[in-house]
């Protein structure tokens, strides 16, 4: 128990090695993580958490690098969690987002962590929230989460972030319309990155038009902002907009509302996890004891009855 207190103190004091080791515990679902995260929770909720999502190669990492630099210039401590896909076949991954963030590596006011999705769908790693929370307690003022390069269904980022930036780029063609439409609904700020490329003007107009058709939503109308992430152009304005959104959302109660919703969702997901594990155990047990699959295959029973019976044994209605 003393050791737990010490770990918590070290994270809060900004000890990099402790924070990074505890993130590993969380990633590996090591039993130590649960104790630490429980004790840490009371020390979280201060950081502004910003999700950065968009198509593969749209410049998310480059932009995150520049956003972090600008926030450093404003004397803020920054955390970055960058997620890349894990191969479903080997369980391995190449996490390459840091390539664009080299110059931040030695800044003591920046903590960058790369994560593999490890089987999680939705554009994030399963324990992204734990990493964010650890960086929050660690004292980061802003935490940027870079999702994997996504399509329209990978929108889990809204369950974690206070604010979501969508990174768009010109020249991806019309097939990207659907993706844009899907992401459109979750974006608080639309970034048109690679504004140095042809088609940026048209893309801005397209996005504005799509926003006109977006249904009534709480909060500010998402601004469409041009950036050239490579040389940092447009990034100070983007940072200003981030702050404006936080201020506004706080004022109208939207920030609090989202955070409440997300905490509930988190409990839901944690429970779902437990439930799934339990359910698999029950099915495996039924298979071993009563040759469940065999009887199903031979049409001696049916999936509906089995689900009912097992559900009852699990005290489900």
């Amino acid at each position: 128990m003393r050791e737990l207190g010490l770990t918590i103190d070290k994270i809060i004091a900004g000890d990099v090695r402790t924070a990074s080791r505890v993130i590993s515990f969380a990633e590996n679902e090591d039993a130590r993580a649960a104790h630490i995260l429980k004790a840490l929770f009371a020390h979280t909720g201060r950081a502004k958490v910003i999700g950065i999502t968009g198509a593969p190669g749209s410049g998310k990492s480059t932009l995150t690098d520049k956003l972090a630099k600008e926030m450093r210039r404003r004397d803020k401590k920054v955390g970055i969690v960058a997620v890349d896909p894990t191969s479903p076949f080997t369980g391995g991954a190449i996490l390459g987002d840091r390539i664009r963030m080299s110059s931040l590596a030695t800044d003591p006011g920046v903590f960058i962590r790369s994560m593999g999705t490890r089987g999680q769908l939705g554009g994030l790693a399963k324990n992204t929230m734990s990493a964010v929370r650890i960086l929050d307690a660690f004292g980061c003022d802003y935490i940027f989460i870079e999702t994997v390069g996504v399509g329209q269904s990978e929108v889990d980022i809204i369950k974690l972030a206070d604010l979501v930036l969508i990174v768009n780029v010109p020249g991806l063609g019309d097939d990207i319309q659907a993706i844009k439409a899907g992401l459109m609904e979750i974006g608080d700020i639309m970034v048109v990155n690679k504004a140095d490329k042809e088609g940026a003007d048209r893309l801005v107009i397209e996005l504005e038009t799509m926003l006109d058709f977006r249904g009534e939503q709480e909060g500010l109308r998402p601004p469409v902002l041009r950036t050239i992430a490579q040389d940092g152009e447009g990034v100070p304005t983007l940072c200003d907009q981030i702050d404006i959104h936080f201020e506004h959302n706080q004022k109208i109660g939207l920030l609090e509302k989202r955070r409440r919703r997300n905490l509930r969702l988190e409990v839901e997901n944690l429970l779902l996890d437990r439930f799934t594990r339990r359910m698999r155990q029950v099915i495996t047990a039924a298979d071993e004891m009563d040759n469940l699959t065999e009887s199903l295959y031979n049409r001696e029973t049916d999936p509906y009855t089995v689900a009912e019976t097992l559900g009852e044994s699990m005290k489900l209605p």
């Binding site: 990074s20 590996n28 391995g92 960058i112």
Partner: protein
């Protein structure tokens, strides 16, 4: 040793601009089920060590072709030591003459893989020599 995912930082210190070898290793380790953090070309020892600490890697592999291994590799291990990091397995690769190997091993570079080493050997080496 549990069955947790092994995390490896593959880094390119020094000024040479070729990372084909590093990428081959990175891919092989990924295919062996490891998480490989790749940080790109021309990393300073300070950047490499900061990344290794933030990413909490089990293994640090560095590749160098420019001939600066005798200064850069020991610089990295010295910085690791300075930070109190003693559970990261460090190996080196690239064009490294045989006569330099004892010196490097004396400075905490625990294995040197010269061109021609099979990726299977590197994978096996990592799996058998993890420090935690």
């Amino acid at each position: 040793m549990s069955d947790r995912t092994i995390r490896v930082l593959i880094a390119k210190p020094g000024l040479d601009g070729h990372d084909r070898g590093a990428k081959v290793i990175a891919r092989a380790l990924r295919d062996a089920g490891m998480e490989v953090i790749y940080t790109g070309l021309r990393q300073t020892p300070e950047q490499i060590v900061a990344a290794a600490v933030q990413e909490d890697v089990d293994v640090l592999g560095m590749s160098i072709l420019s001939g600066a291994h005798n200064t850069l590799f020991p610089k990295v291990t010295a910085l690791l030591k300075e930070q109190g990091v003693d559970d990261v397995l460090v190996f080196g690769g690239g064009v490294i003459p045989d006569e330099d190997i004892p010196f490097l091993k004396g400075h905490g570079i625990e294995a040197i893989f010269t061109p021609g080493t099979s990726t299977e050997d590197v994978i096996a080496y990592i799996q058998n020599n993890l420090k935690r």
